[in-house]
């Protein structure tokens, strides 16, 4: 019999892995740097966030949980910042965003 606690952990893990897959697929499928950054910054943040939440639930209460939550908050702050820094660097180097008019396949 699966308890509520186990169900919560399993659901969080499933969600985490799902969004991890979305991030990886997006990273491979998207046509250019900026759209890939979308996939990386959003899906990966939520994917890792859900997985870390699962880990936090497993730890129960106490210091390890606090650390896991700290890790989670840290990822939520740094991931978008890193994506922003990278895309800004790309924009500074004059890499043009892909638009639908460009058409064609991914590069």
């Amino acid at each position: 019999m699966v308890s509520l606690y186990e169900a919560a952990v399993l659901a969080l893990l499933a969600g985490g892995v799902f969004f991890g897959i979305v991030a990886a697929v997006g990273l491979l499928r998207m046509p250019d740097l900026y759209t890939r950054a979308h996939a990386a910054s959003k899906a990966d943040t939520l994917g890792s966030g859900l997985s870390l939440a699962a880990a936090a639930v497993v730890f129960g209460s106490g210091l390890p949980t606090v650390k896991t939550v700290l890790l989670l908050v840290f990822l939520f702050i740094t991931n978008p910042t890193a994506a922003h820094a990278i895309s800004r660097a790309a924009a500074d180097q004059g890499i043009e965003p892909w638009t639908t008019e460009d058409g064609g396949d991914d590069g």
Binding site: A37, H38, L46, P80, A83, A91, T99
Partner: protein, 379 residues
């Protein structure tokens, strides 16, 4: 003494020497009006200037080069393109001050001995629409023609009020328009703002407290050894970084209010993030990859660093939008889908951030679209 002449007021009123529109005159075409400016004798040098970290050195180089260089120049014209229509009255005002500074610098560089050099400064394009490098080239070419100038010296950091790198295309286009173009060989600074700021004791205490708390949390014990080493570490960190990490004075009351409102904001942000991710998941996993990416720009009604950072990060985390560049409060955002663009310009997130930092009253203000900012779409 060298002749230093200023055209500020003169040009500001878009009289005959002033190009009223950057688009009005074709590059290299005949001057529409002759303004009876200074008569054309000898070589003149045009130096477009804007606020930059290398400006001082560029001015020095221009003056030295004009007086002692291989090709001597009779006159150096420092011009500052500043469009009231695009950048606003404030920017024009700062450009005017900049020209005053340039004039003083040029005077210093010329020194007491009397080189035969005329220095002029002018504010141009006040009433023009300046968007692309082409617009700047038209404006500069028009000015050069009116004043019989054949050479242009560029500041390596020249970038009048825009984020897009302007220099390489500008250089190419000016070259194409028949000018001899040179970029001043001066050191490129990397730091535009001062890193170290004035700070108060409140900042020191707050930073030391945060570091101490973090140290004890990671250490996970309250033994005497940890308390002492933690205090020492926090002291070192705060001493080194207290004037860098935190900006602005610390007001405990306001800080607590912000933290409380941040706690209200977080669930909203989490909800937005989940929605964003489901949208992304749909787009990414859909077989035909239904995306329509576009870059939009808008000015957010938030001020100072922390709110702008919060908004930028929130934008990156939420539906199909990714902050590419922020200068002050001007956001350049890459949007993945049509729906994401609409949500962004409706300004829900922006209102939420204003709520966190400025309270409930500010949250009711209009979003970017209602302020008449339709995203100024960039190609």
């Amino acid at each position: 003494m060298a002749l230093i002449r200023t055209f500020h007021e003169h040009h500001d009123n878009s009289d005959c020497c002033q190009l009223s529109s950057g688009r009005a005159r074709p590059v290299g075409g005949p001057a529409a009006r002759d303004c009876g400016g200074p008569t054309v004798t000898g070589e003149r040098l045009l130096v477009p200037v804007s606020e930059s970290s290398t400006l001082r050195n560029t001015v020095a180089y221009a003056v030295r080069n004009a007086v002692e260089g291989e090709n001597r120049y009779d006159a150096v014209h420092f011009v500052s393109p500043a469009s009231r229509r695009i950048a606003g009255e404030e920017y024009v005002e700062s450009a005017r001050e900049l020209l005053d500074r340039v004039e003083v610098w040029a005077g210093e560089d010329l020194g007491e001995d009397d080189p035969d050099l005329t220095v002029e400064t002018a504010l141009i394009g006040v009433d023009a629409y300046l968007f692309s490098p082409g617009d700047y080239v038209e404006l500069l070419a028009g000015y050069a023609e009116d004043n019989g100038i054949g050479s242009v010296l560029l500041d390596p950091e020249f970038n009048p009020g825009q984020n897009t790198p302007l220099l390489p295309p500008l250089e190419a286009e000016l070259d194409g328009a028949g000018f001899s173009v040179e970029t001043a060989p001066v050191e490129r600074g990397t730091r535009r703002e001062r890193l170290v700021r004035r700070a108060s004791l409140g900042q020191f205490v707050l930073l030391a407290g945060l570091s101490y708390g973090f140290y004890l949390l990671i250490g996970g014990s309250l033994a005497a050894f940890d308390l002492v080493t933690g205090a020492i570490s926090a002291g070192i960190v705060a001493t080194v970084l207290w004037r860098i990490s935190l900006t602005g004075p610390v007001r405990p009351g306001r800080l607590l209010a912000r933290i409380a409102r941040m706690l209200v904001y977080t669930p909203y942000l989490l909800y937005e993030i989940v929605v964003a991710n489901l949208a992304i998941a749909y787009v990414v996993l859909h077989p035909s990859l239904p995306i329509d990416p576009e870059v939009v720009e808008f000015d957010a009604a938030v001020w100072s660093e922390l709110p702008v950072t919060t908004l930028a990060n929130s934008i990156t985390l939420t539906p199909g939008t990714l902050t590419v560049d922020v200068t002050r409060q001007h956001f350049v955002v890459h949007t993945l889908t049509e729906g994401a663009r609409d949500d962004l310009l409706d300004g829900g997130l922006e209102r939420a951030v204003r709520f966190v930092f400025y309270g409930r009253a500010a949250a009711r203000g209009p979003g970017p679209r209602e302020r008449g900012d339709d995203g100024g779409e960039d190609s």
